[in-house]
């Protein structure tokens, strides 16, 4: 079974749409890690996830870099987390991050490599690579035992996708 799928998007709208597709398929408690350079579209992708989760258009999904944790309510709660500003893993306890990660909400985490090893057991890794001014390579990997069906499903739906 294949655990990895790569999709090419050609605009922020397409990146957002891919996020939305994923958001619609997410089940409670799922964790998504996001990697990608500055300006690669991580927040754009999470905006799509939010849309897929039915979060109101009035709730702007904004960068969590400064606030660390942004919380939104939709079909499931969405926690958008950015660990960039953390340097001490001890601070993670203080933030109550485990309570969030192991909750029934959806956690979308940027800079998840700052988490202590084995904090995450089963999660989706989303890597966004800048390949052109607006084009991005989005690599989604099912890490751990679960979510392989979801990867298959995304592949089936996006492999031959004619973006309009």
């Amino acid at each position: 079974m294949n655990r990895i799928v790569t999709i090419i998007t050609h605009s922020p709208e397409e990146t957002r749409f891919l996020g939305q597709y994923l958001g619609e398929a997410l089940i409670p408690g799922m964790v998504i890690t996001l990697d990608g350079d500055l300006g690669s579209g991580k927040t754009t992708f999470v905006q799509g996830i939010g849309k897929g989760l039915g979060i109101s258009d009035d709730d702007y999904i904004t960068s969590p870099t400064y606030n660390l944790i942004n919380e939104y309510s939709g079909r499931h709660c969405l926690f958008h987390i950015d660990l960039y500003r953390l340097i001490d893993p001890l601070e993670l306890d203080d933030l109550g991050l485990e309570e969030i990660i192991y909750s029934q909400g959806i956690s979308a985490i940027e800079w998840a490599d700052k988490l202590p090893a084995k904090t995450l057991t089963s999660y989706l890794s989303v890597k966004i690579v800048v390949t052109g001014e607006e084009t991005r390579k989005v690599i989604i990997t099912a890490c751990g035992r679960e979510n392989t069906d979801l990867i298959e499903d995304i592949r089936d739906n996006f492999k031959e996708k004619k973006w309009h």
Binding site: L38, G39, T62, D88, E133
Partner: protein, 332 residues
């Protein structure tokens, strides 16, 4: 009425003593700027443990510096949200317990409303109604303010806060993080017209902001000019700052026009940015608007603004019940 203010919503533990919502007797902020530098610029000051360590000495220092004695304090105002739950709870629980033990009232204050009220701590406060631009590391919004406790959001950022875009551009130019204030200094030495960055206005009739694309444009410029960008740093900073402040200034002026206000204000950490202050000041003169900016040390997160806000709730007889809780999200 003398109010003790307490703030712990994010990075800073702060306490202040303010008289009648406008006269600051003391304002203490446990800023750790030197520590940030030692760690290569990343802020290590987020842990609620740090707030727990700081809260008692910071409050004691604020009371001592105010020149007043404990029994002269009439009430307590504390940040209730939005912010990090763990951090908020430290100040909030402390404030409730402290007020309860002293048998004085305590009120909860919204952090953003606190920023708006920071503009009343100056010699020349605005008249209601006025339009306020709140611009900081975590927020960028425009408010129509009709009283000390009533403000309507006219627009807000859809992606990055302006202060965050400044910090990230500083990072791209290897100036450390957070480096928004360094961009301001660097920009003063550069030519804002040399490198032109796009202005993102979204809907020119609306008041929402988007700074993510402008940040990305700087990143793209740096990627495409790997050999020269170090020497051009001042011009890049100036060009970027010019683009961001153009948009902030345009929307603030337009908001004042739409709301029919003659008074405008800039509050929040980025209100300390000289480029922004100068641009808005000169436009305000052109358009016959009176501009109000809090003193520099009250632009960033502080507790004097919380005390200034809380004063109006205390005066109106509000009081938090002991089982009141903090909130993480922006209240609409």
């Amino acid at each position: 009425m003398i109010v003790l203010g307490i703030e712990s919503s994010c990075d800073e533990t702060a306490a202040a003593v303010v008289e009648n919502g406008e006269k600051v007797l003391s304002s203490i902020v446990s800023s750790q700027t030197d520590i940030h530098h030692r760690y290569g610029g990343v802020v290590p000051e987020l842990a609620s443990r740090k707030h727990i360590e700081s809260i008692v000495p910071v409050v004691n220092e604020a009371i001592q510096a105010s020149g007043r004695i404990l029994s002269e304090i009439d009430g307590v105002a504390v940040t209730q949200g939005p912010g990090l739950i763990g951090c908020l709870l430290v100040g909030f629980s402390f404030a409730k317990a402290w007020a309860w033990a002293r048998d004085i009232p305590v009120v909860g204050v919204d952090h953003l409303e606190g920023h708006i009220n920071s503009v009343f701590i100056c010699d020349n406060p605005p008249q209601f109604p006025f339009v306020a631009l709140l611009v900081s590391g975590g927020h960028t919004s425009i408010y129509h303010v009709t009283s000390h406790t009533q403000a309507r959001v006219m627009g807000r950022t859809r992606d990055d806060a302006a202060g965050e875009a400044f910090d990230k551009v500083a990072k791209m130019l290897n100036l450390g993080y957070p480096g928004g204030s360094i961009i301001d200094e660097l920009a003063a030495r550069g030519d804002p017209k040399k490198i032109k960055f796009p202005r993102s206005y979204l809907d020119k009739n609306g008041f929402d902001f988007s700074f993510s694309g402008m940040k990305t444009a700087v990143n793209r410029y740096i990627q495409n000019h790997q050999d020269e960008y170090q020497e051009q740093a001042a011009d890049i900073a100036a060009g970027f700052q010019d683009a961001v402040t153009d948009v902030l200034c345009f929307k603030l002026m337009k908001a004042a026009q739409e709301a029919g206000c003659n008074h405008i204000a800039i509050v929040g950490g980025v209100a300390a940015n000289k480029g922004l202050r100068e641009k808005i000041r000169s436009q305000a003169v052109d358009q016959n608007l009176t501009l109000h900016i809090p003193p520099i040390d009250l632009c960033g997160d502080n507790a004097a603004m919380i005390a200034a806000s809380g004063f109006h709730y205390l005066k109106a007889g509000h009081q938090l019940p002991l089982d009141a809780d903090v909130y993480s999200r922006i209240q609409k």
